[in-house]
């Protein structure tokens, strides 16, 4: 049973200059397609990872999943409810308490003027719930001390703050937590602590994670299924075993080759061609074709659709 179902999700941002500048400089509107027709499903109690480089649209998808952004077209259904179009306020409220998010920057994601206790229980208190002793209980569950509830965020290190963020995310007893680069601001040894904690909590609370990351090693360690994004498009989706052992899409291959390896002493990686193109004017057809070593004419002309290939789904004309 899938908890999340995303259908041809698209988000366009208007990044034009102000109206007057446009008129004077005779420029057209500039539209940035951050996410383009993305489909995927996330099974309950699994971890789905979205991986990609900057401009891949992974964070935009995350924000649409939790309802911080509205899709331009397409839809996100969580437990069969579409937050963007649902009109029943009670249903929206119910779904909202099922969804939480953990952010990248542990220094910006806690209000510096609030005590940790108030931060953690806000999701409950905002709904008028009773939160007596809840913060203390949650703090202990995330490996901090109940005595920390009365402190302010500035007294904690980055890793501890991320634990506080996790405690806040847990307080409304959610089913789904979207984790946007949860460890990329943390040091390696602290990252291990946070990833282990996330795994434990997933088992204990029956959580579903959507993990957004640029770090292939983290994704491989955590995910049950991985979606690779390039320039707002889903290009490949597979289980970690298939993705790393039997890579289908040339972009994924390039990414895996380029990532530094702990055992790659003196390795001369095969260097990626070029850089990520401008998302305002993406290449025609397959967005990856200018950098693709195996591109043919059809790749310039026609955008490949996602098709199943074994247990993998891939959007490439030539993958086999």
């Amino acid at each position: 049973m899938s908890l999340i179902s995303v259908k041809s999700l698209t988000r366009v941002f208007d990044v034009s200059k102000p109206w007057l500048n446009r008129v004077i400089e005779r420029r057209p509107k500039a539209l940035l397609t951050a996410v383009s027709e993305v489909d995927f499903e996330v099974a309950e109690r699994s971890t789905y990872a979205l991986v990609g480089e900057s401009g891949s649209g992974k964070s935009t998808i995350g924000r649409m999943l939790v309802g911080l952004l509205k899709p331009t077209s397409g839809n996100v259904e969580i437990n069969g409810v579409d937050l963007a179009s649902e009109s029943d306020a009670a249903k929206i409220d119910l779904i909202r308490s099922d969804i939480q998010m953990i952010f990248q920057d542990p220094f910006a994601s806690l209000n510096p003027r609030w005590r940790v206790r108030d931060i953690i229980v806000e999701p409950v208190v905002a709904r008028g719930g009773d939160a007596t002793g809840l913060a203390e209980k949650l703090l202990e569950q995330v490996g901090l001390s109940a005595l920390d509830a009365g402190k302010f965020p500035h007294e904690f290190s980055g890793g501890q703050r991320q634990r506080i963020c996790i405690a806040r995310a847990l307080s409304s007893e959610p089913k789904l937590i979207v984790c946007d680069e949860p460890t990329s601001a943390l040091d390696v040894s602290v990252q291990a602590q946070v990833l282990n904690l996330m795994s434990d909590l997933k088992d204990n609370f029956g959580l579903t994670y959507v993990l957004i990351s640029h770090d292939l090693t983290v994704v491989q360690h955590m995910a049950d299924r991985i979606g690779v994004l390039y320039l707002g498009r889903l290009v490949e989706e597979a289980s970690p075993e298939d993705l790393f052992a039997d890579t289908k899409h040339p972009y994924t291959k390039m990414l895996l080759e380029a990532a530094p390896r702990m055992d790659g002493f003196g390795r001369e990686a095969e260097l990626p061609e070029g850089e990520i193109p401008d998302p305002i004017n993406p290449p025609s057809g397959c967005a990856f074709h200018p950098r693709c070593p195996i591109a043919r004419d059809i790749c310039k002309a026609e955008r490949p659709v996602m098709r199943p290939l074994g247990n993998t789904r891939v959007a490439c004309h030539l993958a086999e």
Binding site: F103, S109, R127, G150, R168
Partner: protein
Amino acid sequence: MTDMPIKDAPQKVVEQSRLRVFLDSDVFYMFKKSPVAVISTIIFASLVLSALFAPLIAPTNPFDPASLNLMNGFTGPMTPNAFTGESFFLGTDDQGRDVFSTILYGMRVSLFVGVAAVLLAMVIGITLGLISGYVGGWTETIIMRTADVQLTFPSILVAMLIFGVAKGITPVEYRDQMAIWVLILAIGLSDWVQFARVVRGATMVEKRKEYVEAARLIGRTPYAIMLRHILPNVLSPVLVIATISLALAIIAEATLSFLGVGAPATQPSLGTLIRIGQGFLFSGEWWILLFPAVTLLTLALSVNLLGDWLRDALNPRLR
């Protein structure tokens, strides 16, 4: 260096009070280390206290006609009066009022008008700044363009305009009573723009931070987010502006009163006293002008220095 906190060791429950947090903060530490800040705080505090307790400190009530003796008029400071033999610390004015007492009472009016005007400007400015920064779009355009237009006029002109209009619509018999309130309204309305601009800028920075997103995510209303989340985090620049504005408001009040459109002679502020005093300057009774003027200067300067120091302390990037 030796007391390494050990994770499992029982710690004392130390719930830091906000006062404790403040006393431990870098700002308070910097305050202690800055002689300018400490001295101007002491001066400002003693001026405020003496204004507050004027009825207890002042030797006479200068506005009680019964206590006045016209014979005491034009007594020089610290010299006994030629007719009555009474001596006054800072002398007396033409009607025999003790200058020291009038200054204490005048400072009350000046400070009251200044503080009230700044509070008014703060409430208007913070509200409009929060709304325009958080909501954006057309709301922001309208509020901020209005602010820009108002900024093109000197604020004293705006204040005089508001004062004039307000005076025109109040009935004659209430004018003296209303004068103080009109003054507050005039200065407050001419001063909100700075607050709005600073709060809008800070709000735009804060609203992109992830703690605000976390609050939006759980369905908190924009009203709750602005008030509970953003407002506490934009208050430090507001504090700086408020302090500097207080000095400006006190001077603006003095200017208006000096020009004769401010506090009435029945409730004289420092500005009114200076206006009255300058009439006697050329006849040699310099003290009637000098002492109120020095008080005004000290008051405005101490507030201003405090504001400058606050700006440096709270905003390290400006140094």
